[in-house]
Symmetry: C2
Subunit: 542 residues, 2 copies
């Protein structure tokens, strides 16, 4: 036991732990504003005390290092309190994507071996069935919930305890648990594939260093005031933004979802210094009548992700927001940022995805594992301590991702002669047609350029006897507009080589999307897989 | 073997390695200036290639993970090339302090189990005897040497090979070796104690995160141009400055030693953005006739360490250099920075040592292991991943340093009500006299204040039958001045409580010092240990 106490003492001194960054922020900036959630405001001392109390409550409920705790919540103080309590205990946090179906939630609860779940009251109906399917999920903690009306009274979870009761029973002292540098902090399940999601095991060192990369490169400091409006169950909001903010002692204004007018108002009234949003959200703000009436001068930087911003929109943004713009590029597996498209490159290299951050090396690799020089397209691969530990209980996927001593992103792209990275397409979205490789994204861009009546366009390759894959477009016309597929195909001749023109253009009312607004190409490929089948059968014809 | 290749592949992707920060800087900023050493200039591509070639040369010579390689060199490109080659291979670098006696060098070569040494030609006479005593130090690499005239021809080392030959034989490709996050990168032997030095085991994670702390907090970036003039065999120059510069892709101008006129000239001609020097060096620059003739406007920040700067000098510095000043406070064991005294506090809290850096938590502890509130003096203790692994082969010292789950600095100090840390004294320099604790530093300050004719003053406690320790001062008069001990004791009555006035004041021509200019109190305590012995015997009277 003496030796074990000594091991714990050393661990507490030396370890890399995401929870310790909160402990240190609270010691350094006890009186600084940490979180704002509706009417509630916590300084760093209060936030740390709340996390410690909840952590002690979890310990009392039997949680120990390595146990998994699911978390179903919109953006809230309790979301972050749960995350940091897990970090301090070496418990693994498993955020539930609020866009998942019940069978997906059930899969994740089972696959992650969760022994409990923290759930907001109004979300109980969404998770109740999945929780009931897993007796191992025996500990249910209910958060009152904020921002939405209370849940339907008909749904309850057996044996549920109140978040507030756990907190009230817990001590305020630091919970001192042994946690190794590479212990898992989160299982983040990636969505959007045809199979059930894979569990990305994120470890303390990876997430800690990613937060440091962000803080260093985008120059976060304790005077910053960030808005957290993207879903916290996603790595980008959670690890680029929230953990990096806590690391430097900045304030986080927690929002549930996006409303252009409300965000513009918040920037002015709370003197926000940083926002992080999708390009479409910036567009909505630009088009909002309040944009010229609001004082946005407190903004230092605006982050965006998920997609590059068209140059014209970027110019409008720079004009309206008058701050530095950064695109974050990476993926859940890289915790997530791998490159930043920096203010100084935004206009000179519009459309690129940036340059590597401090802790990441980026290269481009061919299919044999050979690194390619600038100018050549290949798979974007990474090295650096941001990288995931592996996929949970999926050795095959892990081995594949780590082949040739580099992490394989699944993205295709190239470096230009200035050392700036360009994204071409997701590797699985590159269409192999008649012996040629065609980036679906190139065809999508041509569709938008060819016809201003197109609101949304997506291009996939579908199985075809002659072409292997036939380039196929789905387009959604702008409200009130009409799109004629044959006329559109004619127009594309001015924009694309003949072999890149879609064999078929399907006009549609809408497209399936993930909760972050990404079009689900895999869903479209599946639903249209029989489009070119000779006998109309949707099954493979082997 | 397949499994081992896979392990290596994962390690190369995920690890925290100081050498990788150079690999990444070279990938990101290949054409940026990295090092300037006399007439030689290397960009990051060239520096990385040189490191790789030397690393391959070391591998060919049989070095493997965990082997120790000693390094005796003034500041030079080869110093840093050796350090980074060690980092990439998992070899442990053991810098030799150029102020050590031959028996100290011999002790370190033996204690570290060095299997080789990299030595500058002109330093061969200093190390030859020690190397000859250790047949295990079988591999000697001679660096041509720069800045000093070639060594005496009479000294040679059997079987020595030329640095340039190793480099020429090595490949330019990345040496891909398995190195764990917590593998040792350096054994830095701390000097200045009565016994032989202790070997501080510094690991990759600690040194990597310390470099990130520095870069983040002092806002280093790739446009920075640093002067490296403090000895690289010290942690402060090596890890605060050199590794942090490489991490962000900044340029390092390597100097051997300090000359006020030369440094002022260099700042102007090379548009230096950052200097790191001792307070006395700033004083010399302030007093130099060139100070008003030089354009110093490129300076962004000036770092200092080892001592606080008197407020009057600081005001002159701020006026003359017109940039941000930072004091670095910490110790070799913390890799080394624990707190930074920041620009915004320099004048409002003159004399303090600052606030914690991102990766360090600082507290003040009593002798029972209880943390003390603000305002109370106690031992300064740290938590955070900057901390050393331990003392090499010295479990007792390691256990003592890590007692109560905090690293014990050996420094006494307190936090003020603004959360700013003040240093009172080294714990071992606090004098226990007549039941009271007196900080030697308080008495030293009073001596300087009482008599402007004192050039240097140092105060120690010496064994005394009645007082336990008797407060004793050694003073060096300014050139041409005289100091009368009894008159001085009278003058002190206006500055100190009676019990704090030295029982004896010894006037001396000079004081023993370490290579960084610290007065060696331990040497004085030893040489004067019999001052109060009843029979004049210098041995303890038990």
């Amino acid at each position: 036991m003496a030796s074990s106490a000594q091991d714990l003492g050393r661990n507490l001194i030396q370890r890399v732990n995401v929870g310790d960054s909160l402990t240190r922020a609270a010691a350094r900036y006890p009186d600084r504003l940490a979180l704002v959630d509706g009417e509630r405001r916590l300084d760093y001392r209060e936030l740390n005390a709340l996390v410690n109390r909840f952590a002690h409550g979890l310990v009392a409920a039997g949680y120990a290092r390595g146990d998994a705790l699911a978390l179903a919540s919109g953006n809230s103080i309790e979301f972050l309190v749960t995350y940091y309590a897990c970090a301090k205990l070496g418990v693994v946090c498993v955020p539930i994507n609020l866009g998942w179906r019940s069978d997906e939630i059930s899969y994740v609860l089972g696959h992650s071996r969760a022994r409990g779940i923290v759930v907001e009251r109004q979300l109980i109906p969404s998770v109740a069935e999945a929780v009931a399917e897993h007796p191992a999920v025996s500990h249910v903690v209910v958060v009152p919930g904020t921002g939405l009306e209370g849940g339907q009274p008909g749904h309850t979870l057996v044996g549920a305890v109140e978040f507030g009761d756990l907190v009230a029973a817990g001590e305020e002292s630091e919970p001192e648990a042994y946690v190794a540098d590479r212990d898992p902090l989160s299982y983040l399940y990636t969505s959007g594939t045809t199979s059930f999601p894979k569990g990305v095991v994120g470890n303390h060192t990876a997430i800690y260093l990613e937060s440091m990369s962000m803080a260093l490169e985008a120059r976060f400091d304790e005077t910053d005031r960030f808005v957290a409006l993207m879903p916290m169950f996603h790595t980008a909001q959670l690890n680029c933004h929230c953990t990096a903010a806590v690391m430097v002692g900045a304030a986080l204004f927690i929002e549930r979802g996006f409303d252009a007018g409300r965000l513009l108002d918040l920037i002015e009234t709370e003197k926000i210094t940083q926002i992080f949003a999708l390009p479409m959200m910036y567009r909505e703000m630009l088009d909002h009548p309040d944009i010229d009436r609001r004082d946005l001068s407190s903004l230092r930087r605006a982050l965006y992700a998920m997609a590059t911003m068209p140059e014209a929109q970027l110019r409008r943004c720079l004009d309206a927001f008058d701050c530095d713009f950064y695109l974050l590029f990476g993926q859940t597996e890289m915790s997530p940022t791998a490159t930043l498209f920096r203010p100084e490159h935004q206009l000179s290299h519009a459309g690129a995805v940036g340059t590597p951050v401090t802790n990441v090396q980026v290269a481009v690799m061919d299919e044999d594992g050979t690194l390619l020089p600038a100018g050549q397209d290949g798979e974007i691969v990474y090295r650096g301590p941001h990288a995931l530990t592996g996929y949970l209980d999926n050795q095959e996927a892990t081995d594949e991702a780590f082949a040739h001593g580099w992490f394989h992103s699944g993205d295709v792209g190239h470096f230009d002669s200035d050392g700036i990275l360009w994204f071409t397409d997701r590797r699985k979205d590159v269409i192999k047609t008649g012996g040629e490789n065609v980036a679906s994204i190139e065809v999508e861009k041509a569709l938008y350029a060819a016809d201003p009546n197109i609101a949304e366009a997506v291009v996939v390759g579908l199985p075809h006897e002659r072409w292997t894959e036939a380039i196929t477009a789905m387009v959604v016309p702008a409200p009130g507009a009409l799109v004629d597929p044959e006329v559109l195909r004619e127009k594309l001749r001015g924009h694309l080589d003949a072999y890149k023109i879609p064999k078929t253009i399907v006009v549609s009312d809408g497209l399936p999307k993930t909760s972050t607004g990404k079009i689900q190409k895999n869903v479209l490929r599946k639903s249209h897989s029989g489009l070119y089948a000779p006998d109309g059968d949707t099954e493979p014809s082997i």
